[in-house]
């Protein structure tokens, strides 16, 4: 049923339909309303036999869902920015313990300076934890990916946490029509969680235990292998989802006009839509421009990226996060995927801390590259002139 709803409601409703057993969370802007909606559903008795816990911090919230998941529960949390950073120690553990928790990150810049606005530095910062990361373009995609996240994470061949990254404010606070799923559809897609191993007093196991040098490395390599297997599991579930709902979100990447494009713009998140609009217009004007939307960021779809960029002469990667002192994160991953190709490579950083990226800026970025005005390499766009001062 299509309804005009706020993004955070679309997310909360999909979580409810996924029949979670435990939700633990701590409020932080712009995520708060996701769990506020879930708390309201819980108070109204709409969450089945789920437990909802308001934790004393994000560290507590992450610890609770780690424990719940280890005990065999389907567990969910949501957070943003500093909240995610505070969860990080626990989330590395959850991944190492192979717990299929699902979390939504309402993407927000990190401190300092304090900013509640959107970029994706928060989730990017824990890209190496062993957590699947998927970046969505719209609230419909966010809504649809939640049952899918549980199904992929809980797959025996995967068993890793799954993070859905949703641009804070731009998506979470947008009020727009979303085709909301019904229980029957979600139940058809997502079976109850059946853990391979869990904490059980009658059949005791130890999880996340001590691994001296003869054992540790194999545990970590196993995570890498599981993340690799997640590629195919995800593709299969994307396909299943399409068959069930008739909504096709594509695979790990979505390539528009890449076959014959001379310039391809690569990016992820809600900014993709705006760029697609610009590129559609440029195509009509006869410019050979293409778009590569990255959906799955971990595992990184290197093969798909290499394939999509095989005919391009110039690549523009737009990052909304930094790896200070190195190539920006998405840019570095794209570069490693196309190693050996003869490409003019532009690493553009834009939209940090909620800095608006208007159509005109996107047009300028592309035209500067098309007309040879921009020097290849790393640069900021939409940056004001400023004098460096230590605050």
């Amino acid at each position: 049923m299509i309804k005009v709803v706020r993004g955070f409601y679309a997310i909360a409703e999909a979580v409810r339909l996924s029949r979670p057993n435990v939700i633990a969370a701590y409020p932080i802007t712009p995520q708060t309303e996701i769990v506020e909606n879930l708390a309201e559903m819980y108070a109204n008795g709409e969450l089945g036999d789920a437990e909802y816990v308001t934790a004393e911090s994000e560290f507590g919230a992450a610890s609770m869902i780690l424990g719940a998941s280890a005990a065999g529960a389907r567990a969910f949390t949501a957070t943003s920015s500093q909240g995610l950073l505070l969860m990080t120690e626990v989330l590395y553990n959850a991944a190492g313990m192979r717990l299929p928790i699902v979390l939504v990150v309402a993407n927000r810049a990190v401190s300092a300076p304090l900013s509640i606005w959107n970029d994706i530095q928060d989730s990017i910062s824990i890209r190496d934890a062993g957590i699947i990361q998927l970046y969505v373009e719209s609230n419909q995609e966010a809504h649809d990916m939640i049952p899918l996240a549980f199904k992929v994470a809980e797959n025996k061949d995967v068993l890793l946490p799954f993070m859905i990254c949703v641009d804070g404010f731009k998506l979470t606070h947008a009020y727009e029509p979303v085709d909301l799923l019904d229980q029957e559809t979600v139940d058809k897609f997502l079976p109850p969680y059946n853990p391979v191993v869990k904490l059980d007093v009658n059949n005791p196991v130890a999880m996340g235990c001590y691994a001296p040098p003869p054992y540790y490395m194999e545990f970590r390599a196993a995570m890498e292998f599981a993340m690799d297997r997640a590629r195919d599991v995800m593709l299969k579930e994307f396909e299943e989802w399409y068959k069930l709902t008739k909504r096709n979100w594509g695979g790990h990447v979505v390539a528009d006009y890449c076959e014959d494009a001379e310039i391809v713009v690569v990016t992820m998140g809600s900014i993709v839509s705006l760029i697609r609009g610009v590129i559609n217009q440029m195509r009509k004007d006869g410019m050979k421009v293409g778009l590569l939307k990255i959906r799955t960021y971990r595992p990184f779809p290197s093969d798909e990226v290499r394939d999509a960029l095989k005919n391009a002469d110039k690549v523009i990667v737009i990052d909304r996060a930094l790896s200070i002192g190195a190539e920006p994160p998405l840019s570095a991953d794209v570069k490693s995927a196309v190693l050996g190709n003869d490409l003019e490579f532009h690493s553009v950083i834009a939209g940090l801390g909620g800095r608006d990226v208007p159509r005109e800026l996107v047009e300028k970025i592309i035209r500067d590259v098309a007309e040879g005005r921009a020097k290849p390499g790393k640069r900021f766009e939409g940056l004001n002139e400023f004098e460096e001062v230590i605050p």
């Binding site: 509640i116 404010f169 947008a174 009020y175 839509s273 705006l274 608006d356 208007p358």
Partner: protein, 190 residues
């Protein structure tokens, strides 16, 4: 009627319902069969501080989520904002400013020193009379629709009934929105 894409910017003060105003239009426009999107200017706004919200309506799915820089219509919900916010910023040449302003459109036009279309309504008075509180969002939605026919009044009224949980408050707001609509229709000479 609505064109391919119309963009509206609302100026209010925190607590006056600028976000709700844009949301009501999003529901109403969707009921009329359009694609709609409303969103607040994001920040940690507090009651009483100047706030902004946006609304887009289109025949096609709306995929652009950047701030509205070149609005077709600007709605000002509180007269005191005229002195502190550049309400005309980016307004299209053939655009329209619809303001809650007690001393009339000629007066406001002079104050803003503009040749653009400016229409005013004393929404504070209207809202205080009907709701007992100076909450002007529904009145200004009525005024906007009266001046522009951006969405149908039927859909606005049913959006209000859906939106407000209390039947009494909903009915009072429907009355208010209709009054503001009729008033603005007459001002604009439809």
């Amino acid at each position: 009627m609505a064109d391919i894409l119309k963009e509206v910017r609302f100026h209010g003060r925190g607590g006056q319902g600028a976000v709700t105003a844009a949301d009501l239009l999003a529901i109403a426009g969707f009921k009329d069969g359009y694609h709609t999107l409303s969103f607040p200017m994001f920040g940690a706004e507090k009651r009483g501080t100047p706030v902004v919200s946006y609304f887009r309506i289109s025949d096609e799915p709306i995929v652009i989520r950047d701030e509205v820089k070149r609005p077709d219509y600007v709605v000002v919900m509180d007269p005191s904002l005229i002195d502190v916010v550049d309400v005309l910023s980016g307004l299209k040449e053939d655009g329209m400013l619809i303001a809650n302003y007690p001393t009339g459109s000629e007066d406001l036009k002079k104050k803003l020193n503009t040749e653009k279309k400016v229409y005013t309504i004393n929404a504070t008075k209207m809202a205080t009379e009907l709701l007992g509180r100076p909450i002007t969002n529904t009145a200004m939605v009525g005024a906007l629709v009266g001046a522009t026919n951006l969405v149908s009044m039927e859909s606005v009224e049913s959006a209000i009934i859906e939106f407000f949980e209390s039947k009494e408050i909903a009915e009072k707001n429907v009355e208010l929105v209709r009054k503001a609509y009729e008033y603005m229709k007459e001002v604009c000479g439809w």
